[in-house]
């Protein structure tokens, strides 16, 4: 091969020498006939230069061709180098095993001192509402996740806030069972509805919409088992079934020997062209409630049946989300509760354990628009409705006061990168007959493992 190169280089030199002498001859010939102008000389020189350049380029290409012919052996050497470097890659990946991620989700809250967060007609959890005024650490979340072995993926999420640590999620999940089946067990967020299985820091607003607060205590997570099946269709269609302990809202008391809640859900979804995608679903949650406690010793025992219809639609130009995106999302909740209710505040105080059969519903709809790479604006409305109760329930907290709690929210957020976000939110609340405004300034930061782009 070397010999070949040398021959070519030699011939190149010969050609250039020969052609240059030929050109030189021409120039001398020209000189003899007439005196050339400066411009002519310059032009000729340029031509000369160009022809040299072309020839050199041509030679370089021919050398490159020789290299190309040699490419097979060269690649084999490279392949060897890659095989070796792969070992290095494996090691590097192990340093992220498990993936550890930390989420900071803090806020500053301001509202009128008289504001009281109550939702007449509903049992609500302790964590509902905007919390205390001023600076709040909010929630600090620590997530660790990894494949355990060839069958299971495990994830644990601990949250710290208000002086206590919580196990938010800790589950094992199959990841390659095949045929579209998945089984998950441990403690985890339910897949009912749309927002239920999302961690709050991924929400588009600083708080959950009213129906989530009223029907699920913000979020439904519990100890249990879930099985899902993804149909082999072209259209996305996933269905699932869950069984839970049922110790917390909307259930209580872990009745049925600690199997107090079951759910079923089905979601369909897909794309419309490159720019649009959607998902819609229907979910049902059945809770055996044994002594769910309300304020001042009030309690409910019975059956709670919740149905949720949800949809989400997203649009971005050509499906490129980076600079522009529209997202429209809504959910409708319908609940029927039958059982017995006790409350010290009941008008007819000797009527304890009164039978109750009540329908309630709630909904929210929101739209979020990303109008620049780092900026988004969003608008959300949510409302709750309850059937009237017999007069004996007057003065109990289940009395809906002939009022439908309503909330309008407006938010603006700025994300420096996909790992940090600062959000300003304004809520106009009409929860119990009084108008109240709440301002929230929230920061969210994710560090460690790369955040997940969920739908």
């Amino acid at each position: 091969m070397k010999l070949n190169k040398i021959t070519i280089l030699l011939s190149a030199v010969l050609i250039t020498v020969a052609s240059s002498s030929a050109l030189a001859n021409e120039i001398t010939a020209n000189k003899k006939t007439k005196t050339p102008t400066y411009n002519q000389l310059k032009q000729e020189f340029q031509q000369l230069k160009q022809s040299y350049q072309d020839k050199i380029a041509e030679l370089e290409l021919r050398l490159a061709d020789i290299e190309d012919d040699n490419i097979e052996t060269q690649e084999n050497v490279e392949q060897l180098a890659i095989d070796v470097s792969q070992q290095g890659n494996q090691k590097a990946a192990n340093t992220f095993n498990p993936g550890i991620g930390v989420i900071l989700n803090g806020r500053f809250v301001n509202y009128n001192d008289n504001f009281e967060y109550t939702l007449p007609g509903f049992f609500i959890g302790d964590e509902a509402g905007p919390g205390e005024q001023g600076f709040q650490l909010g929630e600090l979340e620590l997530n660790m996740a990894a494949n355990v072995d060839d069958k299971f993926f495990a994830s644990t999420t601990l949250s710290f806030g208000e002086g206590e640590a919580n196990v938010e999620e800790a589950y094992l999940q199959t990841f390659a069972a095949g045929h579209g089946f998945n089984i998950k067990f441990g403690r985890f967020f339910s897949d009912i509805g749309y927002l239920a299985n999302k961690h709050k820091h991924t929400d588009d607003f600083a708080n959950r919409p009213l129906p989530y607060e009223a029907f699920l205590g913000g979020q439904y997570g519990d100890d249990g088992i879930q099985t899902t099946w993804l149909a082999p269709t072209d259209l996305y269609w996933e269905s699932g079934f869950e069984v839970y302990r049922g110790d917390s809202l909307p259930a209580a008391g872990a009745s049925n020997s600690g199997v107090g809640v079951w759910t079923a859900f089905s979601h369909i979804g897909g794309d419309i062209g490159n720019s649009q995608s959607w998902r819609a679903g229907l979910s049902y949650l059945h809770a055996d409630v044994d002594g769910r406690e309300g304020p001042e010793g009030a309690s409910f025992t019975g059956i709670s049946k919740l149905t949720i219809a949800d949809f989400i639609y997203k649009w971005s130009p050509e499906g490129n989300r980076a600079d522009q995106e529209i997202k429209i999302q809504g959910e409708y909740f319908f609940r029927n509760e039958q059982g017995t209710f006790s409350d010290r505040n009941l008008t007819d105080s000797h009527l304890k354990n009164v039978a109750i059969d009540r329908n309630q519903n709630g909904w929210y709809i929101e739209g979020v628009y990303r109008f620049a790479r780092q900026w988004r604006v969003g608008l959300r409305t949510s409302q709750l409705n309850s059937d009237d109760l017999p007069v004996q329930f007057n003065d109990s907290f289940l009395d809906e006061l002939d009022h439908s709690p309503t909330q309008h929210s407006l938010m603006l957020d700025w994300s420096n990168s996909e790992f940090s976000r600062i959000r300003l939110q304004f809520d106009n609340n009409d929860l119990n007959g009084e108008q109240n405004n709440v301002w929230m300034l929230q920061y969210i930061a994710a560090f460690g493992a790369h955040s997940v782009h969920g739908f």
């Binding site: 993926f153 095949g178 979601h267 995608s277 149905t307 739908f455």
Partner: protein, 311 residues
């Protein structure tokens, strides 16, 4: 009860949709889920009529910013072979999809799990792995498809996988690959010729997407507009670039089809350096419809912009 009627209607609509939507993967020997269009095209070249292919992204989308949307879960559930760039490019969405799809054929380290970046020499290893430098890819620069030589290297590795997954058609895949590589080699000679004429060209790039093209053409990358990956250029950095290149201009500013052009246009106006959008992958512009036309078009655009400038 109206709710019951709603449920009934939804069920009806669902059934109709399911019946009308045919599983389009149905009759192929290998169903390919490609993360990016260049790998879909390569699978088509090597697999011919024996494969059915799908790409999760188009040339007009940022392959990093994709979400694990429902349609992708479904496509992945039915795939026999997954082809992605790797090197953390799809880190935000691919792991979620893999878990949700629960498809044992494309689980980690199965023959159906193929990352192109594992078969080429990666460039652009970050010196500092720290997010203050933006969303750095610890494994190296994942945009390997901008060097045609990498396409050939990936093809050689990919055909081995295809032969493992569908051994009955092994000869067919090998013949296709040999044919493709012969044509590719010929085309590469042409691109190399074009690149040699532009050797030493000084590039300003929108995002660090072109390391491998620089390597192929022996071009020089003198600045990056989006200095820290994933964080838009600050006005401070932009005016610094104007100062830097006002008196010693670079030759060309390039960006990919899906990237926001405002910063490169702004810089071009102030420095007089021509700005050019390159396809980056298939579908990145109207003329890049297969792997061959992708590079034909890339080098044609570069040659044209740089010669126009010299006039």
């Amino acid at each position: 009860m109206t709710l019951l009627q709603i449920i009934k209607n939804i069920t009806l609509v669902t059934c109709t949709l399911l019946l009308t939507s045919q599983a389009n993967f149905a009759f192929a020997n290998i169903n390919v889920f490609a993360c990016e269009p260049e790998w879909q095209a390569l699978a088509n070249e090597l697999g011919g009529e024996k494969v059915s292919t799908f790409s999760a992204t188009t040339g007009m989308q940022d392959p990093h910013q994709v979400q694990a949307r429902p349609s992708l879960i479904t496509k992945m559930r039915n795939a026999d072979l997954l082809i992605c760039s790797g090197a953390d490019l799809e880190v935000g969405w691919l792991p979620v999809l893999l878990r949700r799809a629960s498809n044992s054929k494309i689980a980690v380290n199965k023959p159906g799990y193929f990352f192109a970046a594992n078969h080429v020499k990666l460039l652009g290893m970050p010196k500092v792995i720290d997010r203050s430098q933006g969303d750095v890819h610890a494994a190296g620069n994942p945009h390997i498809q901008t060097n045609p030589k990498n396409i050939a290297l990936v093809a050689k590795a990919l055909v081995k996988r295809m032969k493992t997954i569908d051994p009955t058609n092994a000869d067919y895949y090998q013949t296709n690959t040999d044919d493709f590589l012969a044509r590719w080699k010929k085309a590469m000679r042409q691109w190399k010729k074009q690149a040699r004429r532009l050797k030493g060209t000084r590039f300003i790039v929108q995002h660090a997407s072109w390391d491998y093209l620089m390597d192929f053409g022996q071009f020089e990358q003198v600045a990056i507009i989006e200095e820290k990956p994933g964080i838009p250029a600050t006005t401070g950095h932009l005016s610094h670039l104007v100062k830097q290149f006002q008196h010693n201009p670079a030759d060309i500013i390039i960006s990919a089809g899906y990237q926001d052009k405002r910063a490169s246009k702004w810089l071009s106006e102030r420095t007089g350096i021509p700005s050019q959008t390159l396809p980056f992958t298939l579908g990145g512009n109207g003329s890049s419809n297969d792997l061959f036309s992708l590079f034909d078009n890339t080098f044609a655009l570069l040659t044209q912009t740089l010669t126009d400038k010299d006039k």
